[in-house]
């Protein structure tokens, strides 16, 4: 069997859906939704900042689940899933920090402030970066899986701290709007945010499927070359 890519009919359909959702989000976020009474046009960053943060939480949920399952079952499949999710979560966390920084300047008056939520998010970014670094360090696959699972769990623990930092401590960052029973947000703004979340979740799922398949194929290649090496060694042994 020749494998020519990581796409399938399902991922192609998901990809088309994701792109359509982003087109709709651009229309809603940039054209149709109104400017905010207090912050004006800068409110449009809401429709990428919040969805990017939620996509990073989703990625870390998969990372945490994969890490626990690896430590329990010791199956490399879970390790590969966790690794794929961690990389994508890293990208979405970076996007959250960048969009938040760009939003902070015109609203708060600063690109960065060491307030509890921003600090906890910076820690999250570093932990995810650490996860990628631990994997790059190489070594025995199960040793690597064990070490990265521990880092993955640390990142998972940080997520509720990031999420609730604005409720537990005094923060420059505003508290949550969308999870309130009666969200304090204009109707069309709420709908744009909703489309943003669906679009980013679709993108996350799409990326995760492809990244996991790539990781799995890499693993297969490694196993194949290992098996070949063993066969070769056996053949050498037979000759001597």
């Amino acid at each position: 069997m020749t494998i020519t890519g990581t796409g399938s009919r399902a991922t192609r359909a998901l990809g088309v859906l994701t792109l359509a959702l982003f087109a709709l989000l651009a229309l809603l976020g940039l054209v149709l939704s109104p400017p905010d009474a207090a912050m004006g046009e800068a409110v449009r960053l809401f429709y990428v900042h919040v969805p990017a943060a939620l996509a990073s939480y989703a990625g870390i949920a998969v990372l945490g689940f994969g890490s626990v399952m690896y430590l329990w079952k010791r199956s490399l499949t879970w390790d590969l899933l966790a690794a794929a999710a961690a990389e994508i979560a890293l990208v979405f966390t970076a996007l959250t920090l960048v969009t938040g920084s760009l939003w902070g300047r015109p609203t708060w008056g600063t690109y960065w402030e060491w307030d509890p939520r921003l600090t906890a998010t910076a820690v999250l970014f570093l932990l995810l970066l650490g996860h990628v670094a631990v994997r790059a360090a190489g070594g025995d696959v199960h040793g690597r899986a064990r070490r990265s699972a521990v880092v993955g769990l640390l990142a998972t623990v940080d997520v509720p701290i990031v999420r609730y930092s604005v409720d537990w401590w005094r923060s420059l960052h505003q508290p949550a709007t969308l999870s309130k029973l009666d969200p304090t947000i204009d109707g069309l703004m709420l709908f744009s945010a909703f489309v943003g979340i669906v679009a980013f979740m679709a993108a996350f799922t799409w990326f995760l499927l492809h990244r996991f398949r790539v990781a799995w194929l890499e693993e297969q290649v490694e196993e194949l070359s290992l098996a070949d090496a063993i066969v070769e060694r056996r053949a050498e042994g037979g000759r001597s």
Binding site: L71, W108, G109, V150, I161, W168, D186
Partner: protein, 151 residues
Amino acid sequence: MDLTPNAAPVRRRRRGRTVVLSTVVVAVLGVVVVRGLGDATLYFHNVDEAVARRDALSDDRFRLQGSVVDGTVDRVGETTTFEVTYNGVQATVRHRGEIPKMFAPGIPVVLEGRWSDDGFRSDRMLVKHSEVYVAENPERTTGYGETTPTS
């Protein structure tokens, strides 16, 4: 001769220990971070606390949080003077420095500076946005005549 290492039971025990140990470490770390940060991250003092603790704060640099009182903003040269309020307590602020675009009466601000004889002297101001998002409504002014019922 069978040279296969008979290590399966050892691995099992080690695996169980790793899971338990990492769960404990993660749980403890979570508790420490949550409880420890809770005390350490006093990001700002509200106006009422800062006024009550004025002597204790002496000339320490800290952040003050309160809402700008309507009708008190006065700009003279580089200094902007205004009152901030929180929980019914007011304080006078003398601010020299950049003023964020969103600065307006009624909006909550975070100011960095220290107490002095004539109030709180700040050199850094950040606007604290609330979690409320309201559409700017141009119809409210342009369409006012048509939509208001005439009695």
